[in-house]
Amino acid sequence: MKTLVCIGCPNGCELSVEEKANDILVSGNMCPKGKEFAINEIKNPVRSVTSTVKTVYEEVPRLSVRTNGEIPIKYVFPLMKLINTVEVDHPAKRGEVILKDVFHTGVDVIATSDMNYMLRGVK
């Protein structure tokens, strides 16, 4: 048996995971997301990634970004490398796709701040 802490929400449920023949038994979860998390952790752990990308604007040098879904943990550092090659040259909107379908995961990297507001605000 394995114990895990669910990272799905701030409750942080302590999960017990037991691998039976061809089933995975999960207990300790307060919601269905806990079970999904535990099964993923055994089979293919996934995480969301948040970071920033460079911009061409001196007043707002960084734009915050995140993946709009979770990617396999093995892609986290490769994605960081990719993110750090990007330079945004226009006022990106919140939600705008910055990197599409990273590592063929179907997940995009999207902007999480509104650069128009930031540029207007700091003027």
Binding site: P10, R62, V122
Partner: protein, 418 residues
């Protein structure tokens, strides 16, 4: 002179929610923010996990505050950014606020009610006892967060994190992702301060060790930090001689706690609760001074922004209502016993039309299988079972006082039973 019903000080999530609620109740509202942009500390909290309760989505800090900024800018709410409040005076029923900014120079504003939403500040190394020189390379977690996330600077190559607060844990992961080595997180207490999920996703995922009952006792370096001395501590958090070890590093990140920002409250002689370090308030979040409300991290340090927004709404709505008309308050005490770190509100206004009380509390220790009860006059007026209570996790309860027939010589006691 400009006249407002409600002036909100601070444009973070608490202030934004307060302004929206005040506007919704018909209050003429102004937000005063000293920084260039609205959004408060969430501007730099680029990680996700915000808004699960509010929006049922896992948003990052800037997305969460961005949604509120958009709503505020759409409404008829005045906003003054890069603006400093130099003085607030109560004149009869009204407040006279002096502000300074580059647009007007010095300007005076009148308000019928004020909402304090100034957030909190971080404890710095002056508030923790570390011996040695004072070299560069020592930052609070929030300052390190600002450098990395807003400016794009990596302030060190190898660092040690002191304190296991959430911002420290989040920064341990962030620095690691950007290529910095985080040697370890050291916590003087025997239990972590941050949420379990942050230990899991920020430390365990990257094999960053968490050393409980350890602290930094000395720093080394002339211009730049080059090493720290770590010691084990006893139950009283006193370093144990002979346990010292030296860790070479060029950075020390302090995540040793947050304190509500209360300069303005203090200048108005508003009474501060020793436990929360924020003002005493009633269920409408009105402080000891009639017409002044407090919310968000200025009231008590929150771990979830969703509750910050909720408290902003309560304060903003009641400030607007107060500005229209108000009766005298009749306050009774709400006391939490010593098993609690604190409970908010500390008072109930039994004359108030608001009979639905939202209360927040934190347990002093980690406890299993507890029942939290509210007692009035020997009667149990609320009871809830908890599987686990932990100090880092704030709990929220609601109860209705309309049928209780509360008397002005009574008091409510919050107790915890095993």
């Amino acid at each position: 002179m400009d006249n407002y019903d409600v002036v909100v000080l601070g444009g973070g999530p608490a202030g934004l929610a307060a302004a929206l609620a005040s506007n919704e109740c018909g209050g003429k509202t102004l937000i005063i923010e000293r920084e260039k942009l609205l959004g408060g500390i969430l501007k730099q909290c680029i990680h996700d996990g915000f808004g699960l309760i509010r929006f049922k989505e896992k948003l990052s800090g800037p997305e969460y505050s961005g949604r509120y900024i958009d709503m505020v800018l759409e409404k008829d709410i005045d906003v003054e950014t890069s603006t400093f409040v130099t003085e607030i005076k109560k004149q009869g029923e009204e407040f006279l606020i002096t502000i300074v900014n580059s647009k007007y120079g010095v300007k005076k504003i009148k308000a019928k009610a004020i909402v304090l939403a100034n957030g909190c500040r971080e404890r710095t190394w002056r508030q923790v006892f570390i011996q040695g020189t004072r070299p560069a390379g020592i930052y609070t977690a929030g300052t390190a967060q600002y450098f990395v996330n807003m400016m794009g600077y990596l302030p060190f190559k190898k660092c040690v994190v002191l304190g296991s607060g959430d911002i420290g844990l989040i920064m341990a992961r962030r620095l690691t992702l950007e290529g910095c080595t985080v040697e370890g997180v050291y916590e003087a207490k025997s239990t972590p301060s941050g949420l379990s999920r942050n230990i899991a996703q920020c430390l365990d995922d990257f094999s960053i060790p968490l050393h409980l009952s350890h602290t930094v006792t000395r720093v080394f370096g002339d211009d730049r930090l080059n090493a720290v001395e770590i010691s084990k501590v006893d139950e009283k958090m006193i370093p144990i001689p002979g346990t010292e070890k030296i860790v070479e590093c060029d950075g020390l990140v302090l995540s040793v706690g947050l304190i509500p920002e209360n300069e303005i409250a203090e200048s108005l002689n508003i009474k501060i609760d020793r436990k929360t370090k924020g003002p005493f308030v009633d269920q409408n979040l009105m402080t000891g001074l009639e017409g002044v409300f407090s919310c968000g991290n200025a009231l008590h340090v929150n771990d979830l922004v969703d509750y910050v927004s909720e408290s902003g709404e309560i304060a903003g709505e009641n400030a607007a209502k107060y500005a229209k008309e108000h009766k005298d308050r009749k306050l009774i005490r709400m006391n939490a016993d010593s098993k609690f770190l604190y409970a908010v509100p500390q008072y109930i206004d039994i004359n108030s039309l608001n009979q639905k009380v939202i209360a927040y509390f934190r347990s002093r220790d980690i406890r299993d299988k507890m029942t939290v009860k509210l007692l009035y006059d020997g009667q149990v007026i609320f009871s809830r079972k908890y599987n686990k209570l932990k100090p880092p996790e704030m709990e929220r309860i609601t109860f209705d006082i309309s049928k209780l027939n509360l008397k002005d010589n009574g008091e409510i006691n919050i107790v915890m039973e095993g």
